[in-house]
Symmetry: none
Subunit: 200 residues, 4 copies
Amino acid sequence: MPRQVDHHERRAMIAAAAAGCIAEQGLHGTTMRVIAQCAGVSKGIVEHYFANKDEVIEAALEQVNVRYLARERKLTAGLTGLAALRARLRCVLPLDADSRQAWKIRLCFWSVAAIDPATRREQQARLALTRERYLQDLQAAQRNGEIRVMAEPGQVATDLGLLMAGAACGALLDPEYYSRDYLESLIDRTLDHLTREPQP
Amino acid sequence: MPRQVDHHERRAMIAAAAAGCIAEQGLHGTTMRVIAQCAGVSKGIVEHYFANKDEVIEAALEQVNVRYLARERKLTAGLTGLAALRARLRCVLPLDADSRQAWKIRLCFWSVAAIDPATRREQQARLALTRERYLQDLQAAQRNGEIRVMAEPGQVATDLGLLMAGAACGALLDPEYYSRDYLESLIDRTLDHLTREPQP
Amino acid sequence: MPRQVDHHERRAMIAAAAAGCIAEQGLHGTTMRVIAQCAGVSKGIVEHYFANKDEVIEAALEQVNVRYLARERKLTAGLTGLAALRARLRCVLPLDADSRQAWKIRLCFWSVAAIDPATRREQQARLALTRERYLQDLQAAQRNGEIRVMAEPGQVATDLGLLMAGAACGALLDPEYYSRDYLESLIDRTLDHLTREPQP
Amino acid sequence: MPRQVDHHERRAMIAAAAAGCIAEQGLHGTTMRVIAQCAGVSKGIVEHYFANKDEVIEAALEQVNVRYLARERKLTAGLTGLAALRARLRCVLPLDADSRQAWKIRLCFWSVAAIDPATRREQQARLALTRERYLQDLQAAQRNGEIRVMAEPGQVATDLGLLMAGAACGALLDPEYYSRDYLESLIDRTLDHLTREPQP
DNA sequence: AATGAATGAGGTTTCATTCAT
DNA sequence: TATGAATGAAACCTCATTCAT
C-alpha cells in the first residue's frame, strides 16, 4: 500500500514554488535545486513529479494563468457590460502583489516567446482569449446602452488588450511612475472614452 | 606597431553579433561561444575586447538603443508636431525587421529588469526619455493648432508610450494578428483621436 | 532512502586525495580534475561534497593538521618534560614519509600566507599553539630538574620552534644533506644544550 | 639602424618588475600581463626579451639572489670572524623591506622546490653556499680567538643556516611576534653561545 | 515515495603563447 | 623594436539528469 500522498496537490505545491522562484529570480535563475529548496523538498522529488525542468516551468505558468482566470471570473461574477469590463481590467493590471508576480512571470515567458515558436503559440492563444472576453463585455455594454455603438468593437477590444499589456510592462519597469493610482485612472479614462458620443 | 585593427569598430562588430544572437536565441542562449561564432572570431577574442560577458551584453543593448535613436532622429528630422509624432511612432513600432530585432532584445532586458534593479533603472530612464520626446511633439502640435488643446499633455504622452509598448509586445508575440497594417492603423486611429474636439 | 554513503568519510577521502595532490604537484597543480582523478571519482563529485576548490584545499590542510596533532598526542602520551619534548620534536621534523608530505603541504601554505592575510592568520595561530606546547614541556622539564632553570623559557620555546621550522625546510629542500640522521642529531644536540649549566 | 636600447638593462627592469609581482601576488598571481603592467611595457615586450614565462621568473629569482649577495658582500666588507658573521646574519634576516621582499620570493620558490627537482637543486646550491660563508666566518673567528674552538664548525654553520631559515619563515608569517627586535636579539643570543666555554 | 550520490556537458573566464604589422 | 590581435587549452563552476538505495 503506497503512502497516501495527493499526487496532484504535491505537483501544484511544487509548481507554485517554481512560480515564486521565477518571479524572484527569473527563468534562468530558477534551477531545479532552487525550486526544490523553495518547495522545501529534496532535489529528486521535483524530478519525481515532473519529467524534467521544462515540465515544472510549464506547470508553473499554467498554474499562474489558471489562478488568474479564476480570480477574474470571481471578480466579474454577476457583472455585465461596462462594469464587468472595468472589473476585468482592474483584475488584469498589476494592482496588487499577486498580480505583479503573475506579470513578472508572464514577462519572462514573453521574452522566451519572442524566440520560441511553441511558447509564442501559447501566448497567442492567451492573448486571443483575453481579447475575446473584452469583446464580450463591450458588446454587452453596447446592448445595455452603456457605451456608444462602435463600428468595430473587435478593434477596440484589441487596442484595449495592447494598452493593458503596455501598462503592465510599464508598471513592472517603473512602479513608482506607473503607480497604482495612475493605472486606475488609466482604466477610468479609457472607459470614459467609450461612453462619449462619436464626433462628426 | 600592432596589427592594423580599428579597436572601436571591432568592438562594435562583436556587439552587433551579440545583439543578433540575443534576438535569435535570447539572453540565456547567447553564450560567449555563440557570440564568437556569430562574429566569426575565436572565443578568446571576445574576451580580448570585452572584460566579460556582461560587458558584451551591455554593449549590445547600448548599440541597439543608439542605433534606434539615430534612426528616430533621422526619420523625424525637419518634422514637427503631429508629423514628427507620427514619424516617431512609426519608428518605434516593429514595422520592419530591424525594429523587430530591437524589440526582441528590449523584451529580453525587460524580463531581466523585472528582477534586477540596475537593469530596471536603465529601462526607466529609457522610458522617461521616450515619454519626453512624445510630449515635445504633442506640445508642438498644440502650438501648431494641429490637435485640440489638452489639459494634461504629459498624461497623454505617458498613455501613448504604454500603448506603443503594448503594441510592440503584441507584434512580437503574434505578428500575424498584430500585423504591419494593424500597427499602422493603430497609429492613425490614435492620432486621429487627438485631432477631434473634446466632447462636452 | 539515499544511497548508503558516509558523507563525512567521503569528504575525508577526497580531502586526503587533495592533500596527496598538493604534496605531489603543489597548490597550483592541484586542480579539481586532478583531485577527482586522485580520489577516483568524477569531477562533479568533488563539487558535490565541497562548494568550491577553496573548500577542498582548506579541508585538506585541516586534515593534515588534525592528523599531525593526533600523531603528536599519541607519541607524547604518558611522557612529560624532556622526554615529551624530545618525542614532540621527533614528531614534528620530517623523519618519515607522512611527515614529509605534511611539511610539503605546510610549505605551500606558507608561501600563500606570505601574501594572503587570512592564510597568514591561520598559520600564526598554528605557530603559537606549537610554541605553547614546547613551553609546557620546558616548564615541566624545569620542574622535574631535567634541565637548567632558564630565565625566559618562552624565548627558548620560540627559538626552538624556529629551529624546527628551518630544519623542516632544509630537509625538504635537501633531504640528502639534512638527512634523517642529521635531524635526529640536531634534536639531541639542541636538547643537550638545555641540560648544561649556564656559564658564568 | 636599430633604436638604441640597452638589452641587458631592459631585461633587468622587467625581471625586477616580475620580482615585485611575485612578492606581492605570489608566483601564481604573477601572470605575463601583470608583469608587463608592473614594468610599464606591453605584454609582447616581455615575451620579446624572454622566451617564455619561466625565463622571466627565473631571471627574477636570479636577480633577487644576485642583489642579496651584493648587499651581503658590501655589508661584510672589511669585516672578519665574528663581526663578519654578525653582519652576515643581520643581512640575511628580513630586517628591512627589501629583505622581506627577497624572502617572500624565496619562500615561493621553496614551495616549488619541494615538488620540482630542478628548482630544488638550485636551492640546494644556494643553501650550500650560504653554509660555506658561515663556515668561513666561524673558522676565522676561531683563528681570531673570538669564539671557543668547536669540534665540528661545519655542523654549527649548518645549524646556523637552518635557524636563520626558520627565523625568516617566522618573520614572514608573524611579523609582529617575530619582530625586528626579536630577530636581532636572536642573532645576539646565538652568537653569544659561541663565545662561551664548552661545559665539561 | 523519497533521498542525494554521481555524472558529464557546457558556461565563463584566465592565461601563455604565437603572429601580423 | 614594439604592439596588441588572435588563438586555444584549461581552469573553476553550475546544472540537468540519471540512478542506487
